[in-house]
């Protein structure tokens, strides 16, 4: 029996009295008309035939509506990142997203850069770490503006955190904002912060094959800085091979090779920074 109208499942018969012959009729050929009210108040009427409707639950299923969203999952982040990018552009601020594994020497490179460029180029810093304000304190000792963002369990900074950080930081016009991301070579690659360039930092204590081990972040980056080059005599790190791997993953990546302790290679890095702000 049809649960919608109660009619019989068996095909009906019509008998013609004159000829006494029975003709089979598919009783379920008839249709059910009914109406729905949509959320916006419009009423729509439609019908079902019986061919596919066997029970009430199936009937309910037929009324599931598929909504095509085609929505980017990171759309909200990307929108805020775009706002940040405009904010930086309007103030001629070079925003850099510094990413690396923990312990690559991001903070050491940053403090050295800030000190060396003190009279030429103001730099302020957004520090991202899961916990502690240790790095912010190290940066603060240089005398520059700094805010610390603790992500707690979060493994990366996102555009909203940077937006909030910027309100507190209040960086100078024509300056550099260095955003030191949480030490992690995986997740930060996915999240646009509104930076002008992504900078991935690789220390030579880590092994030259990092670019092909973590290709996403090296592919997403504009700049790679190889740090701790002063340790080269003590380690088996093949600089050429590392560069080859990095270019394999990202043929456009620009590379600096530096030591924040001896100062080797820093001039090229500084020149690049100054050029970017002048432009």
């Amino acid at each position: 029996m049809c649960v919608t109208c109660g009619c019989s499942d068996d095909n009906g018969k019509i008998t013609y009295p004159q000829k006494s012959e029975a003709v089979a009729v598919e009783s379920h050929r008839h249709e059910h008309y009914h109406t729905h009210t949509l959320p916006d108040g419009t009423a729509i009427a439609h019908s079902h035939n019986h061919e596919k409707v066997d029970d009430a639950s199936l009937h309910a299923k037929i009324h599931n509506t598929t909504i095509s969203l085609e929505q980017e999952i990171l759309a909200k982040n990307d929108l805020i990142a775009a706002q940040n990018r405009g904010w930086f552009k309007g103030r001629n601020i070079l925003a850099l997203n510094l990413m690396s594994s923990p312990g690559s020497g991001k903070t050491t490179l940053l403090t050295r850069t800030i000190n060396d460029l003190k009279n030429k180029l103001p730099i302020s810093v957004i520090e991202g770490d899961q916990e502690t304000i240790n790095d912010a304190k190290k940066i603060e000792a240089t005398g520059c503006k700094v805010v610390q963002i603790n992500t707690g369990t979060g493994c990366h900074l996102d555009a909203l955190m940077v937006e909030k950080g910027l309100q507190k930081l209040n960086p100078n016009l024509d300056s550099v904002v260095a955003i030191e991301n949480v030490g992690n070579l995986v997740c930060p690659a996915l999240f646009d912060l509104g930076e002008q360039a992504k900078v991935v930092i690789l220390s030579i204590t880590e092994g030259e094959d990092k670019p092909i081990k973590y290709p996403h972040i090296f592919r997403a980056s504009n700049i790679m800085i190889i740090t701790k080059i002063d340790l080269l005599p003590y380690l088996q790190f093949d600089v050429e091979k590392c560069i080859e791997y990095a270019r394999k993953v990202n043929s456009d990546i620009q590379i600096f090779i530096v030591s924040a302790i001896t100062g080797e290679g820093l001039d090229d890095w500084y020149r690049w920074l100054e050029m970017q702000v002048k432009n």
Binding site: H63, T65, I67, P215
Partner: protein, 113 residues
């Protein structure tokens, strides 16, 4: 690790579009080169959807294979990793597919009895 945050995003976007209706099915498009693991999304989905209109919804993930085009010769090259080499020798490949991270569609329940 970031899949949890991504899944929370998915749930909140779907809740927004579902308008309080029960969600039966969510279809995602995830590129194979997007650095997102579908298994981890599925694992997080059950947890993140609890107590929302998405609870017990069916999650379907369409994985989009990686595809790049060579900047030198224009050949299209299927990719398993986010980098590769064209037959012409060039390493300059622009990814044209495989980085998707999208909610394609959702199916919501509309009872009519």
């Amino acid at each position: 690790m970031h899949e949890l945050g991504i899944t929370q995003n998915i749930v909140s976007i779907v809740v927004e579009h579902a308008n309080g209706k029960k969600v039966q099915r969510v279809v995602l498009e995830i590129g194979k080169l997007s650095a997102i693991m579908p298994d981890a999304i599925e694992f997080c989905f059950d947890i993140c959807s609890q107590g929302t209109v998405l609870e017990k919804a069916k999650l379907e993930i369409i994985e989009i294979p990686g595809l790049a085009v060579c900047r030198q010769c224009g050949t299209e090259i299927p990719l398993e990793k986010p980098f590769g080499k064209c037959n012409c020798g060039s390493l300059q490949l622009d990814l044209i597919a495989g980085e998707e991270l999208k909610i394609k569609e959702i199916e919501v329940e509309e009872l009519c009895v």
